[in-house]
Symmetry: D2
C-alpha cells in the first residue's frame, strides 16, 4: 500500500538518522542543557532574525529557565503548555472552528482550565475583523465578568485544511492583537509546508515578527519527532522551562531534539527544513494539477489548497478502487455517494508513488 | 424605580426571616450536620418521593459523606461541583447553546477541566434526537480518542428563555441518557416557576425520577440564598461532601440553608415553595396577556414563555419612556431601533407594580 | 447543652438580622453591584486607611471588575480564589504545617492546580528566616525547574491554634516577601479576635499595609456568613470579579453581604465588628485564667493562647463528666488517658455559660 | 570527561538505532496503531504473563481506546496521566517523601488537581503499616471530608536512592491496597536495574501481579526514549487512550516506541532489556565494592545500594580532583567539607571508564 493519509507515516530524513548514529555514544547533560540544543537554539534564532536579550537569562546561573527557543516532543503538548502558560484562569483562547486545539486534542486546553472560544469560519481562517468583534462584544457585555474573557489568539499556518494567511491578513490580525494587548500564537505544525508554498508571501522572520509566540513543526516535516517553540515576545518567556517540565514535556535526552533541529537548520542559506518542505509542495502540486482536470470523472478538487494537503471529493466506486493501492484520510461522507478525502504529501513522499497516483486519478 | 429585571432583587419570603430570627441564638454543629438540615433533607425526600438506601451512609460513622440531598449556596457553584464530580478528565457535558453553564458562568466548567459541548438550539431546548446524534457521531469518529467524549447531559427546567420541556420530551431525553449510560442533570434554578406554570405537565417526583441529579433552586424562588441538590441516582452519591468542601461550597452555618428549605417545604400538601412560585407565574401571565395584545404599539412579545420570565421587543422610544419608572434586563439590540428585554416576576413581585406596568404597556 | 466547640454555632449579631429585616423588600441589582455593598466597601476602605486608585476602575464602564474590596461567602472559597488568582501554574504557596489550606480544605488549593508548600512549625507560625531559607533553597536547587516554585506566602492571624504574630514578626515576613517579589496573603477568618486580643500590638490599617491581600472574616465574627477580601496591592486587583464568578463565589443577592459588613463597620470609632470581638476575648480570658490555675486537677492549659480559642488537656474521666453539659472540639488523644480539646468563645458566647463552665473547671 | 552523573546521558542501544534505520521509510498509521506497536504490546504481555480480556476492546471498532499496554515518551508524563486517570477530584496519592512525583516533577500531580500525600521515610521506602495507618487516620478523622482522601499508592522500584522492595514488602503493601480498595502504582523508570540486581527476589510477572498499574522504563534503560505502561487491573483501562492524547502524550509516530520496545523484548528468554540492565548492575557493583573499602581516604559509601545508582560521601578536596576527569550528580553538601554525590552506571557505561574511576577511588 502507498500511504497518502498523513505526513507522519515514515520515520525521518536520513540525514537526521545519520546524525543520531554518529553521536549516539557521546555523553551529555540531559533536559536540553547540552551543546546540541545550544547549537540548534542559536541556529533557529538566526533563521528567525531574533536575538537574546539580557532578561532571558537568570543571572545567578548559566541555566536558562526562561529562554527564547524550546524543544518539545509534539504539537498537542506545545499547544497546551503555551496556552496554559499565558492565560489566567478566567481567560480563553480564540480560534477558528476547525482549529486543531478545538477539534483534535481531546479537550487538552479545557483540561488545563481554559475555554476554546471558537469562531465560525467558512475556510478555516480567522479574520482581524472577526477577532475585533469578539473582543468588543465581550467588553460591552453587561454581564462581562460572567463570561469567559478572550485573551489570546490561536491560528495555524497553514490551516488544518491547507490554506494560507497572506502577509496582509496576518499583519491585520497581529495589529488587532497588539491593539487589545492579547498575544498571537501561531501553530506551525506544518510551517515549512506553508512557507515553501508558491502562494505564500511570508518568510520565517516575518512569522517571528508578527507572532508573539509560534512553533516550527518538526514531526510532520522530516524529524523523527519534535517541535521548536519560539517565544518572540520577551514578556512571555519567564519560567517557561518549569511549565514544560510540569506538563511532562521536558525530554530527558533533550539532545535528540537539539540534534534534529541542528540538522534541519544548520545550512543557513538552504536549510534542510525548507528543502524537505519544498519537495512535499512540489509533489502536492502535481496532484493538485491533476485533480483540477478530473472533475468529469467523479473526482474533483474540494478546494484549492496551496500546501501539502490536498482535498478531493471522490465518488465511492472510484474511491473503492483507489483504496486497493492507496491510503487516504477520510474526512466526511458527501452527497451523491461520494467522500471527502485528504491526500497528503510530505518530505518523504516518493515521486514514483505520486506518478502512480496520478495515473489512477487521470 | 420598580424592578422587573430579575428574580433575585429582593431579600426573601418573610416566613424565612422569621424562622432565622426565632432560631438565631440556638447552638448547633456546623457544615450541615445540624437538626434543621436533617429535617429539610427529609422534607425534600418526601416531596420528591425518594428514600434513603443503605449505601447512603458510611456505617462506621453517623456522618454522611455521601447523602442524597445537599444544600449549597448558589447555582454556578452547584453546576460546577456536580459536573466535576461526575466527569472523568477526558469527558465533556452536553448542553444547549443558551445553557447557563455555557453563557454565564465565566467558564467554570472548563476551569474544572471539562469542555461544555454545546448544541445549537432555536428555542434553547435540547432534543433526544440531537443528543443521540452527538453520541453516535462521537462513537463513529475515526479519531475518537482525539476528541472530547460527551458523557453527561445538562439542561435547565425552565430554560434560560423561560420555556418548558414536556413530560414526553424529558422522558425521551432520559431514555437516550440511560441507553448510553450517561447521567442527566437538570438545573432547577427556577424549578418552581416551571412546575407551577399552567403549561407544565410535570411534577417534582417526576423530575426526580427522570433526572439522575438535579437541584431545587432557592435563591430565585423565595430563599435568601441556597439550592437543594438531589442525587436520585445512587451511583453518583459517593463522597459528595468532599467535593462540596473542596470547592468552597460547604457553608459553615449550614443551618441557614436547612432552616430555609424546611420553611419552604414543611407543608407537604401546599409547600410554601410552590405557593411562592405560583404567585410569580400569576403575575407573569398578566404581563404575558398584555404583551400579546400590544404588538401594534411598538411592543410585542418576543416568544410565548409560560413561566416567570417574559421577553418583549420594544421600540427604543417607548423603552426610554418605560425606563423612567421600570427596570428590565436588556438582552440585545434588535432591528428597527428596538430592543429585546426580559421582564421578570418573582415570588416577591407586587400585584400593584404589575398593574402599573400593564397600564404603561397597554 | 452549652456549646464551646466552635465560633460559628449561632446565627448572627441581632443588629444584622434587624438590618436584613428592615431592607428585605427593597429592590436592588445583584452580584454586589448594589448600594449596600458600595457603602460597605467604602466603610472598609476607611477602616483600613486605604483608598481607591485610578487604575481600579475600567474607565469604559461604571462596573468594577477589579476593585479593592470584595465580599465572599466563606473562607475556603476566599483562600482558593485568591491563591488561584495570583499563582502561575508552576507555582506554590508557602504555609505552616497547621495552615488551614493545608489541613482542612480537602485539597482545594491543589484542586486549582497548585502545591501547598508547607513548612514545619512548632507553634503554627511561620518565621521570616524560614521563608527566606525556602526561597533560597529553591533558587540554588540545581534542578530548579524540576521543582515547584514557591511564589506567595499564606498565614493566618490569629493562627489555627490561637496564637498571634507580633508587629515585628509580621514586618519581617512582609519584608522578605517584598524582597523576593512574592505576595503576602493573610487569612483573617478570626481577624477581629486577633486584633482585639490584649496581646496584639497590631491594628487593622497595619495589617492592610503589611499584607498584599487579606480578608476580614465575618462568618466566625458575628455575621450570618461572609468574608470581606481586601486587595491592598493594586497589582493583584485586575479582573478579580471574573475569578469570583468562575469559582461560584459571586452571590446573586450580594446585598446580603453588603448589609452585614455595613452593620459591622458603620461606626468608625467603635465598629460593631471590634466590639463583638472584644466580647469573645473577654470571655476567653476568663476561661484562660481559670485553666492556668487548674493543672493539679487533671485539667491544664495546653498552651497560652491570647485569643478566643483556648486549648486544654483534660483527663478523660473529667472530660466525660464535663461532656454531660458542655460541647468542646476534640483535637487529639493524649498520653495518660487524657485529651486535647479546644474551648472556643465567640461574639455570641453568654457570660453565664462561661461562669457555668468555670464553676466546673475550678 | 567521563559522565557518571545519570543514566540518560548517551543515546540508545545500537540494536535500536539499527532497527530505526532499517524501518525508516516504511509507512504506517500513526498514534500507536501500527504493527510495530502491536508486536511490542504482545511481547510485553508475554513477558509479564498477562493476557487480553474481552473487555479490553471496544467491540464496535478495531481500535482500542482501552488496552493493557501503552507506550509513552517520558516518566513525568506517565506518572501524571496515570494518577490523573485514576483519582477523583478530592483524592490524593500516597508516596514517600523522596518520591519522584513529590520532589522532581514541578508539581505535575498538583497541576492535575491532586495532592501528593507524602509520608516520611528514612530509606525512601514506604511500608505497609505506614500506608494502613494513613488510611485509618483518614477514616477516623472527625473532619473527614475536610481533608484529602488518600486513594492510591505510588512507589518506585527501585527507589530514588537505589534501594529495592523485597517480595515480602511489596506483597504486604499490595495486600493493604487491595484491602482498602485503592490501586498500587509502581514507577519502573529503572525497573530493569531493580530486577537484575543480585539482591532482588522479584520477577517482572510478579511485579505485574502485585501492581495494579506500573511502567517499564525505557529512557534510562537503553531506549532513545519511551516508557511502556502496563495496566494489570482491568478496571483501570477504560478510555485510557483519551487521557494520553489529552495530556499530549500520544506520539504521532508511535511506531518509534513500538520499534524500541520490540527490540528490547523480542528475545523472550534473554530480553535485551534485561541484558542491558545486567551490564549496568555489574559495573555498579564494581564501584560499590571499591567504595566499601575506601572509607579511610575521605571517600565512603553513603548507603549500600544494590542497583545502578551508587551514593558516596566524598571530601571536597578529593571531589575537586575527581571532577577534572569525571562528572557526578551533586546531591547535597555534608558536614566536614564533604559532599554527597550520586555515581550512576547505565546500559551504556564502558568497562574501561569504570576501571578508570576505580583507579582514582582506590
Amino acid at each position: 500500500m502507498i500511504y497518502f493519509s498523513n505526513d507522519y507515516q515514515e520515520g525521518c530524513a536520513p540525514q537526521i538518522l545519520e546524525r543520531l548514529a554518529a553521536t549516539n555514544l557521546k555523553q551529555t547533560d540531559g533536559y536540553g542543557l547540552d551543546p546540541y540544543c545550544d547549537n540548534a537554539r542559536q541556529l533557529i534564532l538566526n533563521a528567525c532574525h531574533l536575538s537574546r536579550t539580557d532578561t532571558d537569562n537568570r543571572h545567578w546561573r548559566d541555566r536558562e529557565t526562561a529562554g527564547i527557543v524550546h524543544f518539545l516532543v509534539g504539537g498537542t503538548q506545545v499547544n497546551s503548555i503555551v496556552i496554559n502558560s499565558i492565560l489566567r484562569p478566567h481567560q480563553g483562547v480564540i480560534c477558528s472552528d476547525t482549529g486543531h486545539i478545538y477539534v483534535h486534542e481531546t479537550g487538552a486546553i479545557e483540561h488545563s482550565g481554559h475555554r476554546v472560544v471558537y469562531l465560525p469560519s467558512a475556510d478555516g481562517k480567522l479574520t482581524a475583523a472577526q477577532i475585533q468583534d469578539t473582543l468588543l462584544a465581550h467588553l460591552y457585555d453587561p454581564n462581562i465578568e460572567h463570561t469567559v474573557q478572550p485573551a489570546m489568539v490561536y491560528l495555524s499556518f497553514p490551516t488544518e485544511n491547507g490554506l494560507l494567511y497572506s502577509k496582509n491578513e496576518l499583519q491585520a490580525i497581529s495589529t488587532v492583537c497588539h491593539q487589545y494587548h492579547i498575544p498571537l500564537y501561531i501553530d506551525g505544525a506544518r510551517l515549512g509546508y506553508g512557507l515553501m508554498s508558491p502562494c505564500s508571501d511570508l518568510t520565517l522572520p516575518e512569522i517571528a515578527a508578527l507572532a508573539d509566540i509560534f512553533y516550527i513543526g518538526g514531526t510532520k516535516q522530516g524529524a523523527l519527532f519534535g517541535e521548536a517553540l519560539v517565544i518572540s515576545n520577551p514578556d512571555l518567556r519567564k519560567d517557561f522551562r518549569y511549565l514544560i517540565k510540569q506538563s511532562g514535556g521536558l525530554l530527558a535526552k533533550g539532545r535528540l531534539l537539539g540534534l534534529q533541529f541542528s540538522t534541519l537548520f544548520e545550512d543557513l542559506d538552504k536549510p534542510l527544513y525548507m528543502e524537505l518542505s519544498r519537495h512535499a509542495i512540489t509533489q502536492a502540486m502535481r496532484i493538485n494539477q491533476t485533480l483540477k482536470t478530473t472533475s468529469h470523472k467523479g473526482i474533483k478538487l474540494a478546494w484549492d489548497s496551496p500546501t501539502n494537503q490536498q482535498f478531493a471529493i471522490i465518488h465511492d466506486d472510484i474511491l473503492h478502487s483507489l483504496k486497493q493501492q492507496f491510503v487516504f484520510s477520510t474526512i466526511s461522507k458527501q452527497p451523491q455517494d461520494s467522500t471527502l478525502v485528504r491526500i497528503c504529501t510530505s518530505w518523504g513522499t516518493k515521486e514514483d508513488d505520486v506518478s502512480r497516483l496520478i495515473d489512477k486519478l487521470s
